[in-house]
Structures are given as C-alpha cells and as structure tokens.
C-alpha cells in the first residue's frame, strides 16, 4: 500500500467486521492526517451493516487496542529505563576500572602519561609504534568505546525518563529519577514505597547496619546527589532529604497513577527547601545545640 493510500483510509480498511484483533492492531498502528466520515464510508464499503453496527465494532476494537497498548506501555517503559540506567552504571564503572589499568600501563612506557577516561580517549587516538603499544592503544580504544556507550545511555535516560515519569524527572532530574526507579525495581514499586524508604534508597548497607544496631540511621541514599540535599548545610541535610523524599514519593505516585504533570509540586518543594535553609541560618547558634531536631 502506498503512503498516500494509508493516509486516506480508515482503521477498518482491509479488516473483517468480526476480526477484533486485526481492528485493534490497525487502531494502534494506523494513521491519517485528515479525518473523514468513517461511519458512512465503513457502511458503504460493506464493513458494517449500518452505523450502529459500525460503532459497536469500533467500540470493541478500540477497547481491545487501548487495553493492550496500555498494558504494553506500562510493562515496557519503566523496565527499559531500569535496564538502561543499570547498564549505564555498569559501563561507567568498567570504563573507570579499565582507564586505571590503561593509565598504570601507560605510566610504565610514557613519561607524559595521564589518568582517567579522558587520558584513555587521548591514547586511543595514537598510532601504535610497537607490538606493545598496539595492545595498549587497543585497550585504550575499548575503554573509550565503553565510556562512549555510557554517554549514549545517559542521553537515552535523559530523554526517556521525562516520558515515563514526568513529575519525578522534573523534580529529581532525569538521571536520579531513573536511579530511583531502578533501585525500587520499577515505577510501580517506587509509587508504593513510603517516603522514608525513598529517602534511604541506595543506602541499604547503612540502613541494615543501623537496623542491627551498629550505626546511626542513614539520612539519605542516592538522593544525596540532589542539589537540595548536597547544597544544604550538613546539620540541615536530614531535613532537606526528608522533605525531598516526601515530594519525590508523591511525584512517583502521580506519575504512576495519573501521569499528569503537576509543576506546582516543584514550586512547593523549592519553597520548603528555602525555608529549611533559611531556618538553619537564622538560628545558627541554636542549630548545634538543637542538632537532634533534625531527626524529629
């Protein structure tokens, strides 16, 4: 079928009246720039006996299409994000490890050897002059490739997260949002976690040490990377982390249950963090004496 043909036909074209599966698939995949008088055309084409019959067929196919598409998207998107963010972390870790190896090896051969992934990238550009160099430069290239793939995955995560979890992504930033989804095992499980759990996601070791009575309770897990926590004075970080976690938990629930973007949440959070920070400064002297206030 030509592109032109696809654009001018309704969902029922080439579909049998009682083939709900085929109809559903056409509803999901078809497209047309301009609508048309589909009920009349469907009757004329012999697809349906009359308009009532047409609407009945459309209803059944549409219900099926929407049910399948929703289930697929729900299953798919957040889990793809989980895989992507985990792969990104794996790649970054391996690239750093290998970059260390490259640096150590290069240090034994070149007086100007540097360190890190940047140096591996630099080395990867060189023309090897000996069999040993050949191996070293090849290792550097593979290291650079891994780092490139990690960067690609990061852009993918930054692009996809706002689609899967718009409020969470706006509030936490796409990468941290994806990490939270990954740590929870999916958007559905994140949406069901109390904010106290969200607060310490990624600090499981510290949390279990605390539960065994060997350590103080952790104030924050992976949300520590958020500017609202890291950028707050250490005495107030517990408050900031608790407040942030509370709003993130709400954002995750909205994303999971409604999907509607609520920018006012970001604003409320910003105001509350400002108040926490301001309080810390205003009662600077009392802050240490009151240190326990952080734990509430």
């Amino acid at each position: 079928m030509t592109d032109e043909g696809v654009r001018s036909t309704g969902w029922f074209a080439g579909v049998e009246r009682d083939d709900v599966e085929a109809g559903a698939s056409r509803i999901r995949e078809g497209r047309a720039d301009a609508p048309n008088d589909w009920p009349r055309l469907a009757v004329e084409a012999g697809f349906a006996d009359d308009e009532d019959d047409y609407y009945a067929a459309l209803h059944d196919a549409a219900v099926r299409a929407a049910r399948e598409a929703a289930a697929e998207r729900e299953r798919a998107d957040d889990q793809q994000l989980v895989h992507a963010v985990r792969a990104m972390d794996d790649l970054t870790e391996r690239a750093n490890e290998l970059a260390e190896r490259v640096a150590e090896w290069a240090g034994s051969r070149y007086p100007d050897a540097g360190t890190g992934v940047d140096y591996a990238r630099e080395l990867a550009e060189r023309d090897p002059e000996s069999p040993t160099d050949e191996r070293l430069v090849s290792l550097a290239r593979r290291t650079a490739n891994l780092a490139d793939e990690a960067d690609q995955l990061r852009s993918f995560v930054e692009r996809e997260t706002p689609e899967v979890a718009p409020n969470l992504a706006a509030m936490a930033g796409p990468t941290l949002a994806a990490r939270l989804v990954s740590l929870a095992g999916g958007l559905d499980s994140l949406a069901k976690k109390p904010s106290g759990t969200v607060q310490v996601l990624g600090a499981e070791d510290a949390l279990f040490a605390h539960l065994r009575g060997r350590a103080p309770s952790p104030k924050h897990g992976v949300i520590f990377t958020h500017e609202y926590v890291r950028g707050t004075r250490p005495e107030k970080r517990g408050s900031a982390a608790r407040t942030l976690a509370g709003k993130l938990a709400i954002a995750a629930r909205i994303d999971y249950y409604s999907g509607e973007r609520k920018p006012e949440l970001d604003e409320e959070l910003r105001e509350r963090i400002e108040r926490i920070r301001a309080k810390g400064e205003a009662v600077d002297d009392g802050a240490t004496a009151n240190g326990g206030g952080d734990e509430e």
Binding site: T9, G10, W11, R26, I27, R28, G30, R31, A32, D33, A34, P35, N36, D37, W38, P39, Y55, A56, L58, H59, A62, V63, A65, A66, R67, A69, A70, A71, R73, E74, D77, Y256, Y257, S258, G259, E260, R261, K262, P263, E264, D266, E267
Partner: protein
C-alpha cells in the same frame, strides 16, 4: 439567566444540596439516586463549566471528541448524555481505568493516543464532530486545540479548560490565559470564557467555535 442543561443532565438533590447528575453506571464511588449519579464539579472541569453557567451549546446526543480523558471520570458523564464519544488519553495507567469505564458504555471509544499528534488517530475519529472537550494538563494547551480543529464541524464547539499552572507556574494566571486565548484565535472564535473557581483553582473555561 441560567443556560439550558443538555438533555440527559439534570440537577437533583443529594444529601440536601443541588448537584448535577447524569444517568449511567457509577464509576468512581459517586453518590447515586436510582439510575442517577452525581456529576461532581470538583472533579470535573466540564462539570464546573456547567455549574458556573458557561453557555456550552450542548443539547445532548452530540458526537464528542474528548482530549485528556484521564481515568474517565468526566468522560463517563459525557458518554451518559452524548452520542459517540471518542476519549483520547496518553498516559497508560489511567487508560487502564478508562478501558474499564468504556467496557460498560457502548458509545465510549477509548484511544491511547497523544492529543498533540492528531494524525495518530485521524484514521479512527470521524470528521465533523459536534464538540471537542479538552482537559489536557500539558504545556501548549491552545496548540492542542488548534491541532485538533480538523475534527470539529464548522458549527461545532470547542469546550476547553485551560490550566494556568501547566503553562507556567511562575506567571500570573490571567497573563497565561490571555496568551492561550491569543493562540486559540488562530483557529477559533472565542464565544465565552469563565474562571472555574471555586471548583478548580487557576483554570479558565473556554467556549469557542471554528473560524
């Protein structure tokens, strides 16, 4: 003067107060009286537009394209009094509920589609619908209405709820509404507007017809 309610919508007394009601299967735990169930304006922008007496130009039995159907709260009431009702919603989780609502309503056609991309449902939604009801909480709400103009008959109505916070939380709602109305005028003539308080904060109800 009070505008006429569409056929199939009535005011009834529930627990001592006058509420809007339609006739159909209950959907979200709303109070019922026989076949009638309360249409809660606090949970429905279109309900609030009726309560606030905007002239929607609906008489009942219309073919409707509903953009931003969410879990189907409002669209279930629309399907109670309208004819074929196409319900577009893009988020998968609410569509699961919407499908449940549609399963018991033969004239409700759920579509998991992005209202910003009408070409993805142009092969399903018919031309010349009588009304487009729009409640999409995304940036560029006026743009969505303009893009979907292609479905509306020349004497049809656009009934839109514009949410100020979806466009820009930091600006004054009135300024946001002015911009949105300007954008709408590209494809529509504005017939009536009204704020949706006390039911919904910082929302503007808009009734328009194609230019």
């Amino acid at each position: 003067m009070t505008n006429q309610l569409p056929n199939g919508v009535t005011r009834r007394t529930f627990d001592g107060s006058e509420r809007l009601a339609t006739r159909g299967t209950p959907v979200y735990g709303e109070p019922t009286d026989g076949d009638w169930r309360v249409w809660d304006a606090g949970r429905s922008k279109l309900g609030a537009m009726l309560e606030n007496d905007l002239d929607l130009g609906l008489s009942g039995g219309e073919t409707v394209l509903y953009l931003g159907a969410a879990s189907g709260t409002t669209v279930s009431h629309v399907a109670d009094f309208a004819g074929p009702t196409y319900a577009v919603e893009f988020a998968p989780r609410p569509v699961r509920d919407l499908v449940g609502v549609a399963a018991g309503r033969e004239n409700l056609i759920p579509l998991l589609k992005d209202a910003r991309k009408p070409e993805t449902y142009g092969h399903v939604v018919e031309a010349n619908v009588d009304a487009i009801v729009q409640d999409v909480a995304t940036q560029g709400q006026a743009r969505v209405a303009v893009e979907n103009r292609r479905f509306l008959g020349d004497d049809g109505r656009l009934l839109a709820a514009i949410k100020a916070r979806s466009e820009d939380v930091t600006r004054e709602p009135e300024a946001v509404f002015e911009d949105a109305l300007d954008d709408l005028r590209e494809a529509y003539e504005i017939l009536d507007t009204g704020r949706l308080e006390p039911y919904h904060d910082d929302h503007l109800g808009v009734v328009a017809r194609p230019r």
